[in-house]
Symmetry: C2
Subunit: 139 residues, 2 copies
Amino acid sequence: MLIANLSEPGCDGFDVHGMERSRITRGNDAMSDEIAKTPQPPYYAVIFSSLRTEGDNGYGATADRMEELAAQQPGFLGIESARSGFGITVGYFRSLEDIAAWKRNVEHAEAQRRGRADWYQAYRVRIAKVERDYGFERE
Amino acid sequence: MLIANLSEPGCDGFDVHGMERSRITRGNDAMSDEIAKTPQPPYYAVIFSSLRTEGDNGYGATADRMEELAAQQPGFLGIESARSGFGITVGYFRSLEDIAAWKRNVEHAEAQRRGRADWYQAYRVRIAKVERDYGFERE
């Protein structure tokens, strides 16, 4: 599934590093496994670090649904996830207001409640302003 | 191995959320698998998102060594890592100057060179100011 990036040139004054940064690709039903094609900073990151409880208990399906739903939110710029026992998901958004609106989303709020009730031993959410970025891509 | 947190109360004016946030625990030779006990924001995060090449090629030993070395840097506050094909490591530091010094560390610079030569298909580094955080811990 190809999700159009909301920060194309000319949209809210955002400047992207050419076409290669203007879209993200992700699977329909798997954790994202690509580096998010975020625009030029500044933008915001929600760093979600977590330790799971034992068993799935419906977690996998909801996690997939939350990635899908996050990608539909205003100001969404991309998402990255990795888990090896310990899990880290980073969602990128245009502004603090976009992050606050996503946190209040009704379906997301219910997932947060289930997370505390069933899925997580512990988690920490850090809201951070990305000030600078750089990278490397093999030829 | 228990690593003393550098931001204990009274050190450079940092305020921590009580003793439970004042230390981090990590294995000697494994990726960190705990939520970093970071102090009250603001502080900085280095979000390192990466896709590996095939094979180990000495990556594992160097990755462990870099976590150990990072923890010895001035201003180090904690580190979190997860990998499931896609990898995310987040290092937390007191200031941008601390991050710049860590990037210039000679042994780390050599690891960065090897990363581009051998270990990574692609990576992205995002430097972000953590403005707010909150969390949950099961009783």
